[in-house]
Amino acid sequence: MPKLKLPAPPLPPGLKPAPPRPGKPQQGPLDKAADAGMYTVDWIDERTAMSSGLRWVLFRKVPKGTNWFYTLGSATLFAFLSQAITGVFLAMYYRPDAAGGAYESVRHINDDVFLGEFVHGMHKWGSSVMVILIFLHMARTFFFGAYKYPRELNWVIGVALLILTFIMALTGYLLPFDQRSFWATIVANNITASGPLVGPYLGDFLNGGADFNATTLSRFYAIHMMLVPGIIGALIGAHLWLVTKLGTTAPPWNKVKVPEELIEEKA
């Protein structure tokens, strides 16, 4: 059995575990639990070889000088996760039924379900928070020139994620099926249909027919909770893979201090 070699986390001195005392180790219940945990991790690692990947992700170095602006990306991801979780809970009660069931089910969530309006509110306002964060993250990337070589592809994926976030906001707007969402969606669909070339086809696709009808709501619901979140999840995966592979950018003002051993002495 391969004995797992835990990578030593590069902790500050105060947090480092004390070295073991000399002599025969005492086996307390805590040590037994630690051994069992070690065994489990070892079992998984023997089959997946996950630890090397994890070590690569977690202990890669981040350039000096990264500041709070660099947390905006992970904050956007966190907002997305919050949307996904609250969305799942809303989906447990929601019925995409244009004949009145949709409005009724949202009213039921708001008025009857335990913490229903709170979760609904988190989902509704979480979308605003996510849009703000994605814009701030994009602004940081732009002003720090982080979209330049070698991270061009990551920028393109990021813009796609921005557009998909807008599509989520637009399709989610219809779901409560109140006056506001109904008429705003009709306007949005009409605008889409007025576009050149693909516009009319896209408008037909969104409406589920030539005009707004009962199919439109089911269609928006499917797009909002299956199609777009799936694509967003995949693209976030690609985005993060590229971030870990290429590394976080250094702030553009950082000066390079060349290590002494690399400086060639001039003759």
Partner: protein, 251 residues
């Protein structure tokens, strides 16, 4: 960016990276703190602003003018700014599509190796201008009153008649705004131009008595206001007097 610049960047980045701190626990701690702030903000928004549900969707209403979520206000306002019909498609589809394509292709036309914002004046200024324009349009979109509002200056002739006349004018304006007239009539900058005639200077063409007769006995498809006159004569009087003041030389 040519080959030499690319190699120089990679070399400098490798040195900067080797001098940095590991992702875990240093960056993770910061990200975690930020995640807590985000969650707290979302929870506070949910508690204090809630998730209100408006009246049920009614496809038969004609007077409802929808408003999008606030972060689409800038697009919404762009539509309101662009008036000539031949340019509407440009505002709805053209400008957003062009902006998106420009955004997608940014790393492919901005090829200079410079990363400091103060040494990329064109890029930085363009971005600031775009952010400013979006902020301005968003603010304007937010300021735009609901469709049940008529924003016209009170004419000087009404002001001259004293406070009670102004009060009646305001009351009449409110009755008109809430009666759904704007769905078919245009008044100043508000309302739809058709199928009804424009009412901005209706008093030039029709005396107050004529307006009153039209309201009670209109030509189809305009609905009659007879029930308003019978049930709330005060409101009806205000409405007639408001319409009677809409003259082209009134202000």
């Amino acid at each position: 960016m040519n080959r030499r610049e690319k190699e120089q960047y990679l070399r400098e980045y490798a040195i900067l990276k080797s001098q940095g701190k590991p992702f875990f626990p240093y960056a993770v701690a910061k990200d975690g703190a930020m995640a807590c702030v985000v969650l707290l903000v979302i929870i506070l928004l949910a508690i204090f602003l809630g998730a209100e549900l408006g009246p049920k969707a009614d496809p038969t209403t004609t007077t409802y003018t929808p408003r999008p979520e606030w972060y689409f206000f800038f697009l919404f306002e762009l539509l309101r700014v662009v008036k000539p019909p031949e340019f509407v498609a440009l505002a709805t589809i053209g400008i957003p599509t062009i902006c998106m394509i420009l955004l997608f292709l940014l790393p492919f036309y901005d090829r200079s190796p410079e990363r400091r914002p103060e040494r990329r004046p064109v890029a930085t200024l363009t971005a600031i201008l775009i952010i400013g324009a979006m902020a301005y349009l968003t603010a304007e979109g937010a300021k735009t009153g609901p469709p049940t509002e008529i924003d016209m200056p009170t004419p000087a002739s009404v002001k001259l008649q004293g406070a009670s006349a102004v009060r009646q004018y305001e009351a009449g304006r409110q009755v008109m705004a809430q009666s759904g007239c704007l769905a078919c009539h245009k008044v100043g900058e508000n309302g739809n131009s058709g199928p009804g005639p424009e009412l901005t200077d209706i008093a030039d063409r029709l005396p107050a008595a004529g307006i009153e007769r039209t309201l009670i006995n209109p030509t189809a498809p305009m609905p009659t206001f007879k029930s308003l006159q019978e049930n709330e004569p005060e409101k009806f009087k205000n409405l007639v007097s408001f319409l009677g003041q809409l003259k082209s030389d009134g202000n």
